[in-house]
Symmetry: C2
Subunit: 137 residues, 2 copies
């Protein structure tokens, strides 16, 4: 597949890459966050090749469990993600992508975020000493 060029990522932490804990299917959970709005956009999965393609291309690549193939976000829809940063969580089984989301948004429904539906809500409990800010988009 030919994809629109992104900007390759640099400053790769090779030891951290080796520590990524792919599961028995060879996958880690990938959370995608919009770097500008900081909205959580979507959750998908990556195998090692998808992670390496993401780093090499600066585009977000995933592995589809249902289709059994790699896919580059937005290549069909035009709603591309250009990656600013890949982070790894403490136990290495999830990655966080900070992206510039282009087009209409991350969701195939054309919503900006896949998490556009609210299941339940409440006031929370503000943490002592921290400013109370909004949760909205």
């Amino acid at each position: 597949m030919t994809v629109s060029a992104g900007v390759p990522l640099v400053d790769l932490d090779a030891a951290l890459l080796e520590s990524v804990a792919f599961d028995s299917r060879g996958l880690v959970t990938a959370v995608v966050q919009d770097a500008a709005s900081r909205d959580v956009l979507m959750v998908a999965h990556m195998d090692r090749e998808a992670l390496e393609r993401t780093i090499a291309s600066g585009r977000s690549w995933f592995f589809s469990r249902s289709r059994g193939e790699h896919w580059c976000k937005g290549e069909t829809s035009g709603d591309r993600q250009f990656v600013r940063e890949v982070r790894v969580d403490c136990d290495g089984d999830a990655v966080l992508l900070l992206v510039d989301q282009h087009g209409d948004g991350a969701c195939h429904t054309k919503e900006w975020s896949c998490f556009y539906r609210v299941l339940a809500s409440g006031p929370g409990v503000p943490a002592p000493g921290r400013e109370r800010e909004g949760t909205g988009h």
Copy 2:
């Protein structure tokens, strides 16, 4: 387990709850975002009971795959999460919790976010017409 009281969530969308697509293990991916800073804090898993406990208590409950038991974030460490909102993604197999994070942070290492390690980074490609903002904490 006795947990510190949160504020129960309201305005439950019962039809949306029924549509949550638990996998063959009975789990969905749960992404936790700090409602104030909008940092992505952690990724864990929920079964239906953890989701219902979260809604009923306003605290974040998860299911540990390794220990085979439910756990309430922060009950041991004191780094509690009080839930403001639960969102569901487009295909129903992931939920997003917006929380007030208390204590030292979400990570057992005492980092604020479990995603404290950067694997690789780059400039991204700003989306046309959108402001360029920082990615930092």
